[in-house]
């Protein structure tokens, strides 16, 4: 009973729109503060890594982007499941909003990783297990975006994407684990992630800042996209028209 009523409330686009409106400035301020602060800290104040020199400073953008990109996919699949099971429209809007954000962050993870690889490994790209799985994650995101665009009808698009996101989520552990297995099977060149040991506590603190900043940033942009989507879907309702044309009346 209470669960369903909470769902009902959370599922109401109108309530969500107003609630998220209050949250927005906090998210925006905090995320920018943490991101900017962490980056400046990491770029200019942390000592260089004894093995990698200064190139390790990419970590402050690389690791947050990678982590949030993965988290975003899970969020999307959960939203998809909620949409399919409880027919909650808001979940569909959240799902639609996550796809481009997640894809951008995955792209960022790939790009910063590649740029980091050049000075560290001497090559832009290796077929490391983790790297390969991120590439596949990127493809999964692209698939969802393309599927959504291909449908003309929004409801069908949302449902189809939800199915795909769930199937993908079931597959992600399998993919990740099989790629890991594949990589260790071949035992390729010596290049691979060196493990946590290299990270000093002094280096870790700015990382914590940018990591949490990136999560907040994700939440912020997600709200921005979702709110725009809410307005678009509910454009024929009175409350949306009142909000948009509020000044005129």
């Amino acid at each position: 009973m209470s669960i369903s009523s909470t769902f009902h409330k959370w599922g109401s686009p109108r309530w969500f729109y107003q609630f998220s409106g209050r949250l927005l400035p906090w998210l925006a301020g905090l995320s920018l503060l943490l991101l900017l602060g962490g980056c400046i800290w990491g770029l200019a104040f942390v000592p260089a890594d004894y093995k990698q020199g200064n190139s390790f400073r990419i970590i402050y953008i690389h690791v947050p982007a990678s982590a949030v990109a993965m988290g975003a996919y899970v969020t999307m699949a959960v939203a998809g499941a909620i949409h399919l099971i409880w027919r909650m429209k808001l979940a569909a809007m959240v799902m639609k909003a996550i796809a481009p954000i997640g894809a951008s962050l995955t792209f960022l993870a790939l790009l910063t990783g590649a740029v980091w690889g050049k000075p560290t490994w001497g090559t832009w790209w290796v077929w490391d297990a983790r790297i390969t799985s991120v590439l596949i994650l990127f493809f999964l995101y692209l698939g969802i975006i393309a599927l959504h665009q291909a449908f003309e009808n929004r409801d069908a698009a949302a449902k189809a994407c939800a199915v795909l996101a769930i199937v993908g989520a079931v597959n992600i552990p399998i993919i990740y684990w099989s790629v890991e297995w594949w990589y260790s099977l071949h035992q390729p060149a010596s290049i691979s992630f060196t493990g946590e040991s290299t990270i000093h506590p002094t280096m870790l603190r700015p990382l914590m800042a940018t990591l949490s900043g990136m999560y907040l940033f994700f939440a912020w942009v997600l709200l921005l996209f979702t709110r725009a989507e809410i307005l678009d879907r509910e454009r024929n309702t009175r409350w949306v028209q009142d909000i948009v044309c509020g000044e005129a009346r």
Partner: protein, 228 residues
Amino acid sequence: MPSAGLLSLILAVLQRDVIASLRRGSEWSNPLVFYVMVCALFPLGIGPQPERLAELAPGILWVVALLASLLATDSLFRGDFDDGTLEQMLLTHQSLYPQVLAKTLAHWMMTGLPLSVLSPILGVLLQLPPAGMLPLMASLVLGTMVLSFIGAIGAALTVGLRKGGLLLSLIVLPLYIPVLIFGSSVVKTAIDGGPYMPQLAMLAVFFLVALALSPLAICGALRISVDQ
């Protein structure tokens, strides 16, 4: 006797799809020809040195089989969607699950199975060592079955769309990757003389999981596609 009913339903659907596919011809022959042609392209692209080809053969054979299966997948539900028989499938009081299962199996019998049976010949073309032949066939038999089930999800999601074709690839290719990895490693391990049974067993597990779960996704996707 619901189980007897289910079985006869499955058989009826299987029979219909296989007969239809055999009558049309192009449906089962095209993936085969594609398989043969693209495998024949590779020596032209990467050079004819036998040792190198032998090394690469498992990977190439598997990737191309995967592509052939992928390209054939688009037609899985499209014919039924276009002529309105898909609606009839949705409008029975019997469960959709066995029908979808039977359709996917029929599709596999017309694509994956012939591919697997033909693969030793292409193995010879690509200088695959004899030790790899049987494992190649076995891994393809199991693997293409899994590919068919995964592909069917994508086909069901895109059957109502005019774009079809490459969109399906986009959706389905990332999901194919575990199958590719285990399938090709079966053959490679066999060539190196290692124990390839664990990987084959893994493919069998994938198959069982796909058999049990993918029809659920397919049924859902079909309902969505018809309801547009």
